[in-house]
């Protein structure tokens, strides 16, 4: 079936299967920052922003995504660089596989949490798994990005 997806401000006219998930469609158009991990809706590495909400693209139908604005880490530009700097400065970037999803979720978290605390940050990021288990370093960087001591 034919759909039009708006990804990072650009329209893509595509022909997809009805049951195709957004993760596959995005990777097929070359957006490889969106990763395939657990493939069961748990690990969070396939996260994208859909109308400013972090969602699991592996569990979202592409056909449903066509009325919405999709942002991947490529679409954040310098805003992503800022978050990445906080993470790198803590020596927290390891294999990098979970990085784009963590950056996207953190970006949206800063908008959503008006009074962030360590507890609310941990809770918001609970759906972002890191296979290197580098959580402590990541959290140090994210806390600084969020302005939480």
């Amino acid at each position: 079936m034919k759909i039009t997806l708006n990804v990072n401000g650009k329209n893509y006219h595509l022909n997809i299967d009805p049951d195709e998930n957004l993760l596959k469609t995005l990777r097929d158009i070359g957006i490889n920052s969106v990763r395939q991990g657990c493939d069961t809706g748990v690990c969070g590495v396939c996260t994208v922003l859909l109308d400013e909400k972090p969602i699991l693209s592996c569990s979202y139908l592409s056909v449903r995504a066509q009325e919405h604005k999709i942002i991947t880490v490529e679409g954040l530009g310098k805003q992503a660089d800022e978050i990445v700097d906080f993470i790198i400065n803590e020596g927290a970037d390891q294999c990098g596989y979970c990085g784009p999803a963590l950056v996207l979720t953190s970006y949206q978290m800063k908008k959503d949490l008006t009074n962030p605390t360590i507890e609310s940050i941990n809770h918001y990021l609970a759906g972002n798994l890191c296979r290197c288990t580098g959580y402590e370093g990541q959290l140090r960087g994210i806390k600084k990005y969020m302005g939480v001591k």
Partner: protein, 260 residues
């Protein structure tokens, strides 16, 4: 989960017609089970055009549309104002924010999963489920009755200012629960236990015992013991039935002490 065709009806009547007339058709909710189930089916019916994503209130009721996400319920001021932190506590451990942004309350209810925090939480409220064909049905009756070949439009919650406690135990954040317990107190006390691992159910004997009695240490301990004896528990990959049978007493005690 694979399907061949995708339908996007413009009315509930049209959706119901596809559901009833077309072989192997299913209503899709948040599609969070898209990657978990290898079974295929013929037609996926998407209700996204039917405006069932809302939380609204009247003087005596709160209405939650079937396509409302768990995250919207978790963070809703209307929900917090009327039911305290029940849904925040019940929903916040379900996978992660990304999952709860797409999982819908309709899908959570229709699935009737034993591990469902959502069903445990709704079961202690005065709650109805609005179906397109069958009309409004008491929530507990709906859960007990099994699957209707029907479409959920909304969950309707009565505003009666309940005192509520939600207790659960998990091995880790974002895991399925080992056991869930919710207790509410209005003119009477309701006790519900879920993830036994069977579907959430009322501890009827414990409710009968505790209603009308003072919530003191002795009565609370007795009510917890009765619930532990009357409910059935089973083994699952997270714990043994013997463990659940012991832990339920602790969760019920904590909940009853919280609603004193």
């Amino acid at each position: 989960m694979r399907f061949e065709k995708y339908a996007r009806p413009q009315s509930f009547e049209e959706a119901l017609k596809v559901l009833k007339d077309e072989k192997d058709s299913r209503i899709i909710g948040g599609t969070t089970f898209l990657r978990l189930n290898k079974k295929g089916f013929n037609i996926a019916i998407d209700l996204s055009d039917l405006d069932i994503n809302y939380i609204k209130e009247t003087d005596d009721k709160v209405f939650i549309g079937a396509y409302t996400s768990l995250r919207e319920i978790e963070t809703s001021e209307i929900i917090k104002k009327n039911f305290g932190d029940l849904f925040t506590k019940a929903l916040k451990h379900i996978i992660g924010v990304q999952f709860r942004n797409i999982a819908t309350i309709g899908g959570s209810v229709y699935g009737r999963f034993g591990f469902s925090d959502v069903i445990t939480a709704l079961s202690i409220l005065d709650c109805e489920i609005e179906l397109v064909e069958h009309g409004n049905i008491n929530f507990t009756d709906f859960v007990k009755a099994g699957k209707y070949k029907d479409i959920i439009k909304a969950i309707i919650l009565k505003k009666n200012n309940p005192k509520i406690s939600y207790q659960m135990i998990r091995k880790s954040d974002a895991d399925f629960p080992i056991l869930t317990t919710a207790i509410s107190k209005t003119d009477k006390i309701k006790i519900v236990v879920g993830s036994r691992p069977q579907l959430a159910t009322h501890a009827i004997k414990a409710e009968k015992f505790i209603n009308g009695l003072e919530l003191n240490e002795e009565n609370i301990a007795k009510a917890a013991e009765i619930a532990s004896e009357e409910l059935t528990f089973g083994n699952d990959i997270r714990s043994s039935k013997e463990y659940k049978q012991q832990v339920v007493k602790v969760l019920i005690r904590r909940a009853l002490e919280e609603i004193k």
